[in-house]
């Protein structure tokens, strides 16, 4: 079950656990908008160590404004970057 719907504002967790993590450092702590729900998938962070990754977790495509991500971004105002992020990395913003 997806907690967030298209257009919801979400913040990426600022946490640095060891191991295989699917969220790049540069996007942690940034706020974006749910672009779409992609479906529920086994957690790759556990599949990476031979576990089954169950239960499946909701995956979202989250859209971030480049100017919010990079302090020195000098491209066009409306530029965005999309990342696919599982729900356990997100909280309401």
């Amino acid at each position: 079950m997806a907690t967030y719907k298209d257009g919801d504002r979400v913040k990426v967790a600022v946490t640095y656990p060891p191991g295989h993590r699917r969220v790049p450092t540069y996007i942690r702590g940034k706020t974006g908008e749910i672009e779409r729900y992609c479906g529920a998938f086994a957690n790759p962070e556990e599949l990476a160590y031979g576990f089954d990754g169950k239960p499946e977790r909701p995956l979202y495509r989250v859209r971030f404004v480049q100017k919010d991500v990079w302090a020195d971004y000098d491209g066009p105002e409306g530029d965005t970057v999309d990342l696919e992020i599982q729900e356990h990395w997100l909280s309401p913003a």
Partner: protein, 102 residues
């Protein structure tokens, strides 16, 4: 809080121009690709395990070309899963080298 950004997590770091030249594929690179498909197909390795093993390579090894990274990571997983040891693989490589040179 000190953030230890891992070697592979390079988004946003200065990187210079990207080399877009096409280059021929070496036969051993095709073999490695086939091996990955075979290991995954038989349920002996997941793509997530391979990614994890690549990320766990030392920065020196991580700097090596793509398929060298893959082969180093696969060997690490073989050892971890008890399929083959580095010693066994190197012994076999030595035999093949000898045969090719002889």
């Amino acid at each position: 809080m000190t953030v230890e950004r891992r070697t592979h997590d390079m988004g946003g770091l200065p990187a210079g121009p990207i080399n877009l030249d096409e280059h021929a594929t070496e036969p051993w690179e095709k073999l490695i690709t086939a091996m990955v498909a075979s290991l995954r197909g038989r349920g002996l390795m997941t793509i997530d395990e391979l990614r994890r093993a690549i990320e766990d390579l030392s920065p020196e090894v991580y700097e090596k070309p793509y398929f060298e990274r893959w082969s180093a990571a696969i060997l690490g997983l073989w050892q971890e899963k008890g399929f083959l040891t580095r010693t066994e693989v190197e012994a076999k490589m030595g035999k093949i080298k000898k045969r090719l040179e002889g």
